[in-house]
Point group: C2
Chain length 255, copies 2
């Protein structure tokens, strides 16, 4: 029997700009009675990485331009929020009432360019602070991986997760926004199945599946845990980043 275990760490403290996430993760693991082991993949919610990196923006400082005013009109969103969405985006793919789907400057096709109002460390009535994605989640993942490896002496992977909607299916699932260690995609082209035929499933979205599994356990909202440890999944060291898991624009049939 092959067993994968996913441990969501409880009791992570509030994260502020400049918080040392590696220290907090190691502290939370210890308080949860978990010792990081060889092959573990540490999954970290994008939100706390953004918070630690000071990626919050006060809406009152934003002056929306003409394009943002137009997007706000189409979508019904705050024009200053629309300005931030456009600033984070390489292209707007779809804009409708309450919906905007963009290609983020990082390459991810996603809603609202990841500009998120919820769960910030502010008073409930202060709706004027939003959080952007990390500047470079792959770099953030690599830095965290290096810190965690140095502290523990074991081979670890790091995935920075986000929750994305899908084109044809309801509800969000976790995806890999940043990655260091495991591969984004496992290419099995050329391998055979049990009966010698070429495998039909030839590329596996490994990092996204790890994120989906972890986010399921981490949960959302008030009772959510922003860090999980995925244990028992074998993986080979890779130089791929989360960007390597994105379909090239030239192969996109649904833009």
């Amino acid at each position: 029997m092959r067993t994968l275990a996913i441990h969501a760490l409880e009791g992570m403290p509030g994260i502020r700009p400049g918080t040392d996430l590696a220290d907090e993760i190691l502290g939370a693991a210890a308080r949860n009675g978990l010792r990081l082991a060889d092959g573990d993949i540490v999954v970290i919610a994008q939100k706390i990485v953004s918070k630690a990196e000071g990626r919050s923006v006060r809406l009152e400082a934003i002056v929306p331009g003409a394009a943002a005013q137009a997007l706000a009109h189409t979508t019904g969103k705050d024009p200053r929020l629309a300005e931030l969405v456009l600033g984070e985006s390489a292209a707007v793919l779809r804009a409708r009432r309450n919906v905007v789907v963009v290609e983020h400057r990082l390459g991810h096709v996603m809603a609202n360019a990841g500009v998120d109002r919820s769960n910030l460390d502010a008073a409930p009535d202060d709706e004027a602070v939003v959080l952007l994605l990390p500047e470079d989640p792959d770099r953030s993942a690599a830095a965290l991986r290096d810190r965690l490896r140095a502290a523990t002496g074991v081979r670890l992977g790091v995935v920075i997760s986000d929750s994305f909607g899908r084109a044809w299916r309801l509800g969000t699932v976790g995806v890999a926004l940043g990655l260091a260690g495991p591969p984004a995609v496992i290419d099995r082209r050329g391998e055979a199945d049990l009966y010698g035929r070429p495998l039909q499933v030839t590329e596996i979205g490994f990092a996204d599946a790890v994120a989906a599994a972890a986010v399921l356990v981490m949960g959302e909202g008030a009772e959510g845990c922003p860090v999980a440890v995925v244990r028992g999944q074998s993986w080979s060291e890779s130089r791929q980043t989360a960007r390597d898991g994105l379909r090239p624009r030239s192969e996109d049939m649904f833009r």
Copy 2:
């Protein structure tokens, strides 16, 4: 610490038309030393459900019509395979060299309408047998759930999984093709985050995330395990089916 465990059952026997899957799953669980427990979700690969339901088709019996000939010309696929794809589809969304994306008659937007050549119990040189999706995977899931509950006396869920590509991301991840017990989607609209703001992530693709997690552990190809048991994830009994996890066509912005 919240822990989710996913156990992939080893040593499932070869499945033939008429095989009693519930018996085989209970037998494999016992041989793996696993006793099904309250709240477990049993994830079963579509392929073995299709095999047990006799959904294999010999290509030599298929006579392609004009539409199939045209699709075969566009995609480079075998015209008889194209005929089967069309027969399983409500609409063709995209057709290119080596690629066809359809709305399956069950509603899923997917490649090749799930018509699959690999891993059939046939000699390697017999490429003329293909496997279709189960007639009604939600009904199959409900029947298996009822059998497994009756045999064990505990509250179980069943997910029939498949591996789907995504529009903008590389590699496949598991999704729920059939569902009985847990919800397809958890609607959190109206709930608040830690600080009293409305949650931004308001719908969670629960069954798909369970499938993604399980398929990661189950693996593909020669060393794959077609059944996994997901343990430790709390869920409320739901009457939703996998179809309830599909975005209505009227809300599809990417068709």
